[in-house]
Symmetry: C2
Subunit: 447 residues, 2 copies
Amino acid sequence: MASIIRVDQIAACEGQEVTVQGWVYNRTDKGKLVFLLVRDGSGFVQCVAFKGDLDAALFDRLVRLPQESSVIVTGPVRADKRAPGVPGGYEIGVKQIEIVQEAADDYPMALKEHGVDFALDHRHLWIRMPSQWAILRIRSTVIAAIREWFDTHGFINMDTPILTPAACEGTTTLFETPYFDEGLAYLAQSGQLYNEADIMAFGKVYCFGPTFRAEKSKTRRHLTEFWMVEPEIAFCDLDQLMEIEEQFVTHIVKRVLRERLPELKSLGRDITRLEKIEPPFPRISYDDAAKILQEAYDATDDPEKKELLKFEWGMDFGAPHETELTSRFDKPLLVYGYPTAVKAFYMEPWPGRPEVCKSVDLLAPEGYGEIIGGSERMSSHDLLLQRLHEHQLPEEAFKWYLDLRKYGSVPHSGFGMGVERTVAWLCGIEHIREAIAYPRTIKRVYP
Amino acid sequence: MASIIRVDQIAACEGQEVTVQGWVYNRTDKGKLVFLLVRDGSGFVQCVAFKGDLDAALFDRLVRLPQESSVIVTGPVRADKRAPGVPGGYEIGVKQIEIVQEAADDYPMALKEHGVDFALDHRHLWIRMPSQWAILRIRSTVIAAIREWFDTHGFINMDTPILTPAACEGTTTLFETPYFDEGLAYLAQSGQLYNEADIMAFGKVYCFGPTFRAEKSKTRRHLTEFWMVEPEIAFCDLDQLMEIEEQFVTHIVKRVLRERLPELKSLGRDITRLEKIEPPFPRISYDDAAKILQEAYDATDDPEKKELLKFEWGMDFGAPHETELTSRFDKPLLVYGYPTAVKAFYMEPWPGRPEVCKSVDLLAPEGYGEIIGGSERMSSHDLLLQRLHEHQLPEEAFKWYLDLRKYGSVPHSGFGMGVERTVAWLCGIEHIREAIAYPRTIKRVYP
């Protein structure tokens, strides 16, 4: 009996008789030959059926076989440079074929162009198309690479809760749910505060799970539900954090290049841009970034561009500012030392400059903008308490968080990286909704 | 300069001068000697300070140093079989010590017994204690082992959504949240239905994330938020599924034994029970399980036990039934072929016996009960539609799910494994609330 193989193993099976189980993605008829492009989840392979090799009735069914029909194909693997597919370069001569199910012939996502809303309504079928399949395979490798790096660098995976009590940063961007007799619970926007407790027990930790923001943003960079990895490290300052970010991001890029080159190529990604990602990454202060933006503003005569680049010290960066800054570098850019006023309450102040905090954002190249936000955290109990009051946050809800500064406070730092933004950058795609299987936006919670 | 090491690397550093950064877990004074048990997140190590080696004022502070104070200790590593700690067997002679922060001396979780509610109120500190630290380190290894097995067996990690539209199995056990102008969204109880769409694109997939059940259960086996891994496999029947479960569970047990032996021992776990876990696992049908329970009922004269064991064909198992069944085996027990009426609507009927379905539960030994529930899924469109109507489920909400049976339906199977139940079994602990960092129960959503 031929052994069942996966299409991504086909190069090792040349000359052997194999069985592939999958679905018909495309069919071309040429008289006595039928070419089936079969996908099995691991790849796409061309299967060639010759009329003389098969029972006449079966061949007749093949000629009319609808897209998405499920099949089990058996036959010899032959090298053929012209054979389409992913990885491509091999075909299977069909000796036997079992039609598991003949698909209905009204397949909604047939091989033609569809509008985005139609495609999203049929996301459960859209993911079968090569572009979406490639993106989500790359995503799974990004996730594996993230975990691999932390698991091999002494980090402990700690799952922080999704259902949380009183909110840390205002409730307007939180989803809420009634929680038995305990009032409302809120879906977590971050596991960071819990991570800060966890490092005091485990030294280095990361949480990695879904994150929720009920923001009414309709940009191509926002989802209401997205995945975020958040490492936190005891005895770590801002400089050490930036080194970790460089190593970590480089590791992800390299693993994706190693394992998902066919998928990147099938997406038309310019690989040379990714091959340049190596530590060290350029580092500039927020102050210097503000100067660069001022220079760019002065240098242009285009009034539209002037309007977009308008900036003054104290503002947070918008997308045009990030694009301007990153256009000057081939690698991700680390911008550190943001104004305290635009960042969260828990960041350590810059020594001697309380208006600046020890924060760092990592901006991806090619206009993809911020994919990581991080900082050194405040370690002083009294200053933290003062900040809570300044931000009018309820002290009682933060009692446990304050405890961390009473019982063995240490310098510590951490960051959060958004998975979908990272995947979108690596894949070179326009909108992050394609970087997750079932995107959730303010207008969509289906399927 | 001495290099900074982690305590779990100490055996490799014998004779070297090292630096350890951590917290004082315990202190014993013996005249001119102070013994500090220092934990750094990776382990616990004894550090011995001799009065003659240190500045007098510093030594004086050490003698009074409160538990949880953060310290940086430098000195030579010496082997000493009696030295306590995890892994233990080594101590550090203190040549230098920097007190990063002297902890407040009212540490709530000081080394004495506390009630469970008090401990849970201080979960952010409780996790620093050796037992909780050990359990959560084992948990992180269980998670890594789960992912390792799937990632090395051709599975693609697909993140299924938490925010979902109309519920699949009634809304009474669902958390709900207002979702912009879209009405209510519900927190997912399972990613399975999405996984079934995903396998038609990726062949073999798994999702792994938090899962929510608003059940009013107060048992030691229920949380409202828990982590579940759910693989789904195309072209896979019930027998193949049971083989996968055996291989998968064995892999987890073996990796935990290999990497977390000191932690298991510190918990007093009987390792020999875990060392017996090897495929094949015993398999019995539900019918045979019912007979075994009847025999056990007949064999006992104890009226209390009779009451607990009362059972008739068609019932689901309760905890006493599971305990009775698993007490006969050293390994996890696979029970297959449950009555259709006690299982979910999407399970494939047993050929020729529609009252039975192709389901399988994996029951852990030692009374830990069900940790995996799985089945072959229904592949017929028409039968699935009939089931939806029988269960009075809204056809419209399942339109996309029905599509999967129209466009290339294949035999397929999958299961869900609860992480906390698995960790509780491996650690030999009573209650699953200790198997997650911040447990959520019907009475608790803090900290």
